[in-house]
């Protein structure tokens, strides 16, 4: 389709032009690689250190995915608990907000002291970054169930369990998935920040630690290569969660409706 082709072609052409300008500027002004590396140098670093960097990415990705999964499960459960009564929500929701507004960098030092396992430290911090949108969105979804359908379930004398599984969970699903898409990016950011603060190093260190290490050594091409990999990872993560959401909602929700319909 010509319009979709143009949708992809325009930003790509713009990106290539930008990269070309960058490369030209670096060469023309003879900027040393330890100040600003050009795209070619970054690509070269990516090729040279590829295996090493991918090992780091695997570590980062492990933490990110684990934290996101944990946030999805605990966030949904917490939202469900909060939805049980107005009193519970009023009592506990401010603490969920507290979790959201506190910069995790400020909590990291304490977690690092209290928990010895580095993986667990990273997991906790990334979870803290990721969980709030899931709690808040799922809670909204649980409260948005059609009031007439609620009446119908009441009329049919549905049990709490039946109402939860047949009415509340499906009603909340689109909201939960919306939260999950936001949390995917936040889990990655949380992991990266946590890695940098925790100062992990060695073969089991994540990509963000390697980025930091490389920048200390003024290996900026390698550091930028880490940055590129992390950005691409964020995009892929978002695309994957978007695809998951569209797949689960394909039959019924407006958000997953194909444009042609």
């Amino acid at each position: 389709m010509p319009s979709s082709l143009r949708n992809a072609a325009l930003p790509m052409a713009f990106g290539i032009a930008l990269l070309a300008l960058w490369e030209w500027a670096v060469r023309h002004y003879a900027v040393p690689e330890y100040v600003v590396p050009g795209p070619v140098a970054i690509a070269h670093a990516l090729g040279r250190d590829g295996a090493d960097l991918l090992a780091g990415l695997a570590v980062t990705l492990q933490v990110t995915v684990a934290a996101l999964a944990l946030a999805a499960v605990t966030g949904a459960l917490l939202a469900f608990a909060l939805a049980q009564s107005r009193l519970v929500e009023q009592t506990l929701f401010p603490y969920a907000i507290f979790l959201q507004v506190t910069p995790i960098v400020t909590i990291a030092p304490f977690i690092i002291i209290w928990v010895s396992n580095v993986f667990v430290v990273l997991l906790i911090l990334a979870w803290m970054a990721a969980v709030f949108p899931i709690i808040s969105n799922t809670l909204l979804g649980l409260k948005s169930a059609d009031p007439n359908l609620r009446d119908l379930f009441r009329l049919y004398q549905a049990s709490r369990w039946q109402t939860a599984t047949k009415l509340l969970l499906p009603s909340a699903l689109p909201y939960f998935l919306g939260g999950l898409r936001i949390s995917g990016g936040l889990a990655l950011i949380g992991t990266v920040v946590a890695e940098m603060v925790a100062g992990t190093s060695g073969a089991r260190s994540g990509l963000a630690s390697r980025l930091l290490e490389a920048s200390y050594r003024l290996e900026l091409a390698r550091a930028m290569a880490c940055f590129v990999l992390l950005s691409v990872t964020g995009l892929v993560l978002y695309a994957a969660l978007d695809a998951l959401s569209n797949f689960l909602l394909r039959h019924w929700h407006e958000s997953a409706r194909s444009r042609e319909e």
Partner: protein
């Protein structure tokens, strides 16, 4: 109480009032008894409390005073309810929506028997070919048919309908009126039907209860007897238009009293 005996009464409303928490008096004391197997319509202007009365009879809204005795078992086995909106679960197929009351109430049915009942209900409303469709793929009239199929799939003792066809175009509305009438003439559930369409009420009902504006009172309680079985041709009969005119006058008087 009216002449019906206690055993034949599906529901008896005894001196029931409703005052909303805001202090608004929605219903003045209402007394009425509905015979089992009859089709009764409630007509009245918006805000006359007819929907509130229906919801109180269903047990969805508590009454402020008075008692309501129901001759049907609670839950999906006893009652079917059709809202003004189709109120379908968008995530479930047509068959899934219709099966809901069978799943909730503990009917001793195998999955195959449940499916058979669902298909039977869909046949009755003329949607047997749409079992696997999702609600968003259907027109407004078809969605309302699904809603009716869901209400009758359990063969409930009483069917309550709260302005079910108000949002539909006239052609679809006539069609659904005729289908509902055919279903009722075959199955003889007790039907309580709330509407603000006089023609719809006269076409369908054996008895029409006309209510006044807030606080709602019964201003006319009229038996409607036409030759059975009723057919669409009834809408052109003199007796039909005369009855419509009488209900209209009664409503007009009730409005004038304000």
């Amino acid at each position: 109480m009216s002449g019906t005996t206690a055993t034949a009464s599906a529901v008896t409303v005894d001196h029931v009032t409703k005052v909303f928490p805001s202090g608004t008096e929605a219903l003045a004391p209402i007394d009425l008894s509905v015979a089992a197997g009859s089709f009764v319509s409630f007509v009245g202007p918006s805000g006359c409390g007819k929907s509130t009365l229906l919801r109180m009879i269903a047990g969805l809204v508590p009454s402020t005073s008075g008692t309501i005795s129901r001759a049907w078992p609670p839950g999906a086995k006893g009652i079917g309810f059709v809202f003004q909106d189709p109120t379908l679960m968008p995530w479930a197929t047509v068959a899934g929506n219709v099966e809901l009351p069978l799943q909730i109430a503990q009917f001793d049915l195998t999955a195959a028997a449940r499916k058979e009942k669902v298909m039977e209900a869909l046949r009755l409303v003329g949607l047997e070919g749409f079992a696997m469709a999702y609600p968003r793929e259907l027109s407004g009239g078809m969605r309302m048919r699904v809603s009716i199929a869901r209400a009758i799939v359990t063969q409930p003792r009483v069917l309550l309908l709260d302005e079910p066809f108000a949002a539909l175009d006239e052609f679809t509305r006539f069609q659904l009126n005729e289908d509902l009438l055919t279903l009722w003439q075959k199955n003889r559930w007790t039907v309580l039907f709330v509407t603000h369409s006089i023609r719809e009420a006269v076409f369908l009902s054996e008895r029409i209860v006309v209510m006044s504006p807030r606080p709602g009172r019964v201003v006319l309680d009229k038996a409607v007897t036409f030759v059975a079985p009723r057919t669409p041709a009834l809408r052109d009969a003199h007796a039909f238009t005369d009855t419509c005119a009488e209900i209209g006058r009664s409503l007009g008087n009730a409005m004038g009293e304000l």
